[in-house]
Subunit: 335 residues, 2 copies
């Protein structure tokens, strides 16, 4: 069973492993620096479908299927969510599996939220395995959150590029490899940012709050982790978080990385401040972080998924953008 | 720790109680047969705010606050969700509490999903208490899912009325009273219904699937429950589920009830097929079921929250409407 370490952080006492995983990406992700880590890259933004929303669903369905093909048995339940209104791409991608489904909404933090909750369910003993699933699609996100692509709108320098990508992780109480050791569910932090084209700034204070809580609760520091990943702060949010950490006397140095900065080549891929979306941290986790851990590159990683909990409507009604960050500690226990 | 009974159902082995709860409703709910059970009724559909979306947020915030005022301590985390795009009313209602937040999307099944997950987290030992929160507002749902109210659109006879209401339940490992004994997370069932004005028909097959799974897994039957509640099938869905159960040889008789049928007077309140929305089962749970259990009216109840996992966009793109149902077994262990 899990035990509360202190404050917000739960320590898992039962063994819970990321037994297998899968990732899928779109064309731009296939041209990016992490392309080789993906299980599958689709050069067709429609994924063979007749709408982008159906394409997003198909991408998630395919990614889940790839993950389940690697798994020793079907998971006892699937935890999933996405950015589309009413989280339809995850629900529709799961509906033909016949497996119990728990829908989440954590915006771009969904992989961390799902991973953490799935790990706690396995740790709790009720399920022996569970799958966390999420993803996003650039074209659906643009038309839902910003402008129809046909409009050809200009993007501001602080804007991020929604990742077309998906990730699925199968967690199990049996096995070895990457173990989930701690979960720090995040609090909502609203720093008053109202610019919906500057998500990094809106989410950085939440990342700061959760990472600090995790360190305070566990007595750990950056020195205890080989790498700490935020979800999708992008270049702007990454720098803001660096500043906040330094003011607190913390010096992450090269140990602090952001999935939104890693997934694209920011100099050549015209993505402005970097990647974002549920698919960003999910794909980087499954195409980069977990594979690298199994190759021994990092032994202990903090995966801090970040999300912005606004909607186009709350922005139109003048509300500021609340951020959230959930952190999951991963540890390589391999041979 | 929870243990898998069989199939989909988890039995909680640690004591987990619904220690306190709160409910809030709008004007129509205040005129309905359950009005006396609500903690608070607002006759102002704006709840003192300048938009209905802000009103929904304010209602949820107020309901959560009422619940937390009754609780012996702040919960270790809040699990919440709602129907608004990007689940903004629950996120915005929680953001100033400073408590860890896990966002859910279960459509109208959100209370059952949140209650089940919160109970499993408490059972798992990681948190000592957790709060499940959800709600809905007629005016926000109409303009998001159907037409702006100003349009004065005609409603079809199978249409349901989104409940303006909210419910919050504080679960704790300590105490006595209503204990959560089993959780049956549901599978998505898509019966091919495409009429977005007939949600009861879309959700009834999912309710059938989960209730049957719960009975099969636990060896229980309608005779083992004093009452079995579905979330918001309404009059049409209620009758469809009755038919499905009878074909299976099950005769629920008067033990099967639907929250969407109970919350309004279907003959006089012009709600057509009955109530729906996240607030429907949440408010009926907190304003009727839990209070009645503490008065000894029912000793053992199955709370089967139902949800339709479509969006306006999936309906526009010709997709059918997938349903889901999560069931939570409640048992009175009072004096």
């Amino acid at each position: 069973m899990a035990e509360r370490v202190r404050g917000q952080t739960l320590r898992l006492t039962a063994p819970v492993y990321a037994a297998c995983w899968a990732s899928e990406g779109g064309s731009k992700e296939g041209d990016g620096p992490l392309s080789k880590g993906f299980d599958r890259i689709s050069r067709d933004s429609y994924f063979g479908c007749d709408s982008w929303e159906k394409a997003e669903t198909e991408m998630l369905r395919g990614c889940l299927q790839l993950c389940l093909e690697k798994a020793p048995s079907p998971p006892d339940c699937i935890l999933g969510g996405d950015l589309l209104n009413q989280c339809v791409s995850s629900a529709f991608s799961v509906k033909d599996t016949g497996l119990p489904y728990l829908g989440l909404y954590g915006a771009c933090s969904t992989m961390a939220e799902g991973l953490g909750l799935a790990a706690l369910l396995v740790d709790g003993g009720g399920v022996s395995s569970a799958c966390a699933l999420t993803g996003s699609h650039f074209c659906t996100a643009e038309r839902q959150y910003r402008f129809p692509l046909e409009y050809g709108g200009q993007r501001t320098p602080t804007a991020q590029w929604t990742v077309t990508g998906a990730g699925a992780v199968f967690l199990s109480g049996a096995g070895k490899g990457v173990r989930i050791t701690h979960v720090t569910p995040g609090r909502i932090v609203d720093a008053g940012i109202t610019d919906a084209c500057n998500m990094g700034a809106a989410m950085a204070p939440a990342a700061f709050d959760t990472i600090l809580a995790h360190f305070r609760d566990t007595g750990r520091d950056f020195a205890d982790y080989d790498a700490v990943f935020t979800g999708d702060l992008g270049a702007i949010g990454h720098d803001i978080l660096q500043d906040l950490l330094q003011r607190e006397g913390l010096s992450p140095g090269l140990r602090y990385l952001d999935c939104g900065v890693l997934i694209y080549d920011l100099k050549t891929q015209d993505v402005h401040a970097g990647g974002s979306g549920c698919g960003c941290s999910a794909a980087v986790l499954c195409a980069h972080i977990l594979p690298a851990m199994t190759r021994g590159i990092w032994k202990r990683v903090l995966f801090a998924g970040t999300g912005a909990l606004m909607s186009p409507l709350t922005c139109q009604q003048g509300c500021s953008i609340p951020g959230i960050c959930h952190a999951v500690a991963l540890e390589w226990e391999g041979d």
